[in-house]
């Protein structure tokens, strides 16, 4: 009997109860962030530095989850001194931007990028804001980029976005 990711199973919503099934049924969207700005890059923030090459997603609302399957960071700094690497944090706050927590920290130079895919998704439940903030910019900032593969699920409606 086929299992539909869009309808509730006998034990509840598929996405809510079995987030791993997103691997089987979903495909990821990609968010491409330029992290050169000191204020960081908005992701699901609605406000903040946005760069110019991507849209900003709305703040996660109650019932929504952001499921991150991959996180990559690349930079052009040569890393020849301690101050010349780029370091970025995936920060999650509550809906009004307070009480920030670093969920993941990545670092990169031109000789060592950071590229991670996750066997299970990093799940961030709304309401909340998500952004990538630089902890250290490095000396060449024109090629500081973070790429995130994600699926947003509205669990209250069992729909993906």
């Amino acid at each position: 009997m086929p299992v539909s990711p869009w309808s509730a199973s006998s034990f509840g919503s598929v996405h809510r109860d079995a987030p791993g099934l997103l691997r089987e049924w979903g495909s990821t969207n990609t968010m491409f962030l330029a992290t050169s700005a000191a204020g960081g890059s908005a992701f699901c923030s609605a406000t903040g530095s946005t760069g110019s090459e991507y849209p900003v997603l709305p703040v996660l609302t109650a019932g929504q989850t952001l499921n991150i399957f991959g996180f990559q960071a690349v930079a052009a700094s040569d890393g020849s001194a301690d101050s010349k690497s780029m370091q970025v944090a995936l920060e999650v706050t509550d809906a009004d931007g307070n009480n920030g927590v670093y969920k993941v920290v990545g670092g990169a130079t031109s000789k060592g990028p950071f590229f991670q895919s996750y066997e299970l998704p990093v799940k961030i439940a709304g309401p909340g804001r998500v952004r990538v903030i630089p902890l250290q910019l490095g000396d060449v900032t024109s090629l500081n980029y973070v790429t995130i593969q994600y699926i947003i699920v509205d669990e209250s409606a069992s729909q993906t976005q």
Binding site: G20, A81, S85, K103, V105, G107, F114, Q116, L120, V122
Partner: protein
């Protein structure tokens, strides 16, 4: 002859009772609990909720607290699915991840030129109620972080689907 056959049968019974796996990976137990008996099933039922830990200078730092200390009247098990280590230092920095008994489960070493990152397809299971710590080797530069990717199952979730 009969005694001999009985001896062989008894030996086989002893062998089977001591060597047979408690849970067969090929025959899911009819009354088992997949997240407890088959940890890889966490891939279907769980998600990560990681938190990056800044390495602040202490030789030993807690990365994940014991489930029994963070939950009231509960015990549980930590499953480590991976970890990453980043540092802005041009010199190599690193350390060892250990359980409560001091048993190492892995080491991470990196520089600004090459961070360390790993996720596993099958988790590392810590002893019940054990925490996860990081023991640094040598000095660390400010801005060094470890991010563990893990699942904590508690008794209630190990026994059912909550």
């Amino acid at each position: 002859m009969g005694t001999f056959i009985h001896a062989i049968l008894a030996q086989n019974l002893l062998y089977n009772s001591t060597m047979a796996p408690k849970v067969s990976p090929w025959n899911p137990p009819r009354h088992g609990f997949p997240r407890k008996d088959a940890p890889a099933f966490q891939r279907e039922w769980q998600a990560f909720d990681p938190s990056a830990v800044a390495l602040n200078g202490a030789t030993v730092q807690a990365l994940i607290e014991s489930p029994s200390s963070t939950l009231t009247n509960a015990s549980g098990t930590i499953y480590v699915w991976g970890f990453s280590f980043v540092t802005p230092s041009t010199a190599a920095r690193g350390g060892i991840l250990k359980d409560d008994d001091g048993n190492p489960i892995g080491a991470a070493v990196g520089t600004s030129q090459g961070p360390y990152f790993l996720t596993l397809s099958t988790p590392i299971k810590l002893p019940q109620n054990s925490s996860l710590t990081y023991t640094k080797v040598g000095a660390h530069t400010a801005g060094s972080y470890v991010t563990p990717y893990y699942i904590v199952t508690t008794e209630s979730s190990e026994e059912g689907y909550n």
